[in-house]
């Protein structure tokens, strides 16, 4: 699975766990609009760290936070350890 699909499937799994309803996901969708609440996002980032072995929020030089799902995938892609 590529990073994009891993992130999307993890979002779906956190939403299911948290009993939250997701809208159909698309890259230009605002993170705030996808259906996960702030705790859901925090869990998503923790789960992705367990799965991928890195957390771009903790290491990124870029001080801009991602705002759309596409941003989020790029944010993770940019942080993949070389």
């Amino acid at each position: 699975m590529n990073l994009h699909d891993i992130i999307m499937s993890e979002i779906a799994s956190v939403a299911k766990e948290q009993g939250q309803t997701l809208r159909p996901l698309s890259d230009d969708m605002a993170l705030a609009a996808c259906g996960l609440d702030s705790l859901g996002f925090a869990i998503l980032v923790a789960n992705l760290e367990d799965k991928l072995g890195f957390d771009p929020f903790a290491t990124a030089e870029d001080v801009r936070y991602p705002q759309t799902l596409g941003d989020l995938v790029r944010f993770y892609n940019a942080a993949v350890p070389a």
Binding site: E17, Q18, A30, L31, A32, A33, S38, L39, F41, A42, I43, V45, A46, N47, D50, D55, F57, A58, V63, R64, Y65, P66, Q67
Partner: protein, 459 residues
């Protein structure tokens, strides 16, 4: 003035402060916009007389009703007990019994709560009556809840002067519109509300469960100039594209450990805007504000005499200040040591010439501003069949500061995958979402201290 010979109260009532609000100053809530000066001149409180001997339990669902109730009761009731939004009916009932509550103000029609005989219910009328703006009859004591490590939450007493003195007055005379992501029924939020109401400006209140994007829209509409929240609130807001449409002059963070990443992200989103972070705790009152854009605080602030004195003892920050809470309700263990210092319970470490916060000595986990006692989660996990022992600790998270993690010692020979599923199922069924462990590790044993207690670890 009262007819008795008692000395006058050396402060203004909240109603007097609000009556002096700037022309056009408003209180903005999700459904309404109220002119503060007008609000001070009318009363909506129905029910019996409330006097200096009254102890009023304030249990409100709506933050706007809460603000109105404060306006009605400050300077009239001897004691106000402020319930946070997540206080259960059972906890509220226990407080009523243990703290001699005489009146209850409840905008949720007393859901789940049956007051003892002799307790008077107060409510808001729909139609306001004219009110006279008067000086206080008494210096109302404000009681707020603090999260204990286990058992029922404790009540801590504050004075009006202590609560309002916590946030420095603003030098600027321009119109000020405060906005807060905090719930005003909690310590940090209440300080913001009182700062706004006594400072003459407007205030925008968030609504429980209101989406961040919607709140940002209301902040923009109200023209917010001063905006406050926890680091978690800010991280969430930074993910909303609309955040940068706001034109604030001052941003404030408190209530959780502030890291450099969130300060840098805010500086990038709001170039040139003053960004401060404040240290505060319910028990110790606000200690200080840091405005140099760096996490932590300068080490040379320690051990210096002044309005607020700070020192480190046994790895935790101790404070001495006139603003510290005066006492726990009903006596309880004294808050101050012999020299007048209060242990904040916050672990600190010094690196170079800077002091950084490192978590709570009690092990209390702060998940985006919501406190989790590890013992509470451990009790649930330990109740699952085949669990021998567990230890709950914080796991660092870049969005909420911390999340809950657990280590479990299982009975020999059990199926770990199956047990993991079962533990999470039980936790999700019995605990609120932020208390459910996000990671669960099986270990063969957990370390004990010499006293036979589970050794706590920090993030």
């Amino acid at each position: 003035m009262s007819e008795s010979a008692a000395a006058p109260i050396p402060r203004m009532s909240l109603r007097q402060h609000v009556a002096g609000s700037a022309r056009g100053a408003q209180l903005f809530t999700a459904g309404a916009q109220l002119d503060l000066a007008q609000m001070a001149k009318s009363s909506r409180l129905a029910g019996a007389e409330v006097g200096p001997h009254a102890t009023v339990l304030l249990r409100t669902r709506d933050q706007h009703d809460f603000a109105l109730a404060l306006l009605e009761l400050d300077g009239r009731a001897g004691r106000l007990i402020i319930c946070p939004p997540d206080l259960t009916a059972a906890q509220a009932a226990a407080v009523m019994i243990h703290h001699g509550v005489t009146h209850v103000f409840d905008d949720a029609t007393m859901e789940g709560l049956t007051p003892a005989r002799g307790v008077t219910c107060l409510a808001l009328r729909t139609a306001p009556q004219p009110a006279i703006v008067t000086a206080p009859d008494c210096d109302t004591q404000w009681f707020m809840f603090t999260s204990g490590t286990s058992g029922p939450p404790k009540l801590v007493a504050h004075s009006f002067a202590g609560l309002t003195g916590a946030i420095a007055p603003l030098g600027a005379t321009d119109e000020v519109v405060w906005g807060t992501f905090y719930d005003v029924r909690r310590y940090g939020g209440l300080q913001m509300l009182l700062r706004a109401l006594t400072g003459g400006g407007s205030m925008v209140l968030s609504h429980t469960g209101e989406p961040v994007a919607a709140f940002i829209g209301r902040l923009r509409h109200a023209g917010v100039t001063h905006l406050a929240g926890t680091p978690s609130h800010w991280r969430q807001a930074l993910m909303c594209p609309d955040l940068t449409t706001l034109k604030p002059r001052y941003l404030r963070l408190s209530g959780e450990i502030v890291d450099q990443a969130v300060l840098d992200a805010l500086r990038a989103a709001f170039p040139g805007v003053m960004i401060g972070h404040a240290f505060a705790s319910t028990e110790a009152g606000v200690a200080f504000e840091v405005n140099d854009g760096l996490a932590g605080f300068p080490a040379n602030w320690l051990d210096v005499p002044g309005k607020v004195e700070m020192r480190v003892r046994n790895g935790t920050l101790h404070l001495r200040s006139a603003r510290t809470a005066s006492a726990y309700a009903g006596g309880g263990s004294a808050l101050h040591d012999d020299e007048g210092f209060v242990d904040t319970g916050d672990l600190v470490v010094q690196r170079g010439d800077r002091v950084y916060f490192a978590g709570r000595a009690s092990g209390i986990i702060n998940v985006g501003g919501a406190k989790v006692a590890p013992e509470e989660v451990e009790a649930v996990i330990n109740g699952v069949a085949q669990v021998h022992q567990s230890r709950v600790h914080p796991r660092r998270n870049p969005l909420t500061g911390s999340l809950v993690a657990a280590e479990v010692v299982a009975e020999a020979g059990c199926d770990e995958a199956e047990l993991r599923t079962q533990i999470l199922r039980v936790c999700r069924a019995t605990l609120p979402a932020h208390k459910v462990p996000v990671s669960l590790t099986f270990v063969t044993s957990l370390p004990m201290s010499a006293g036979g207690k589970l050794e706590r670890r920090h993030a």
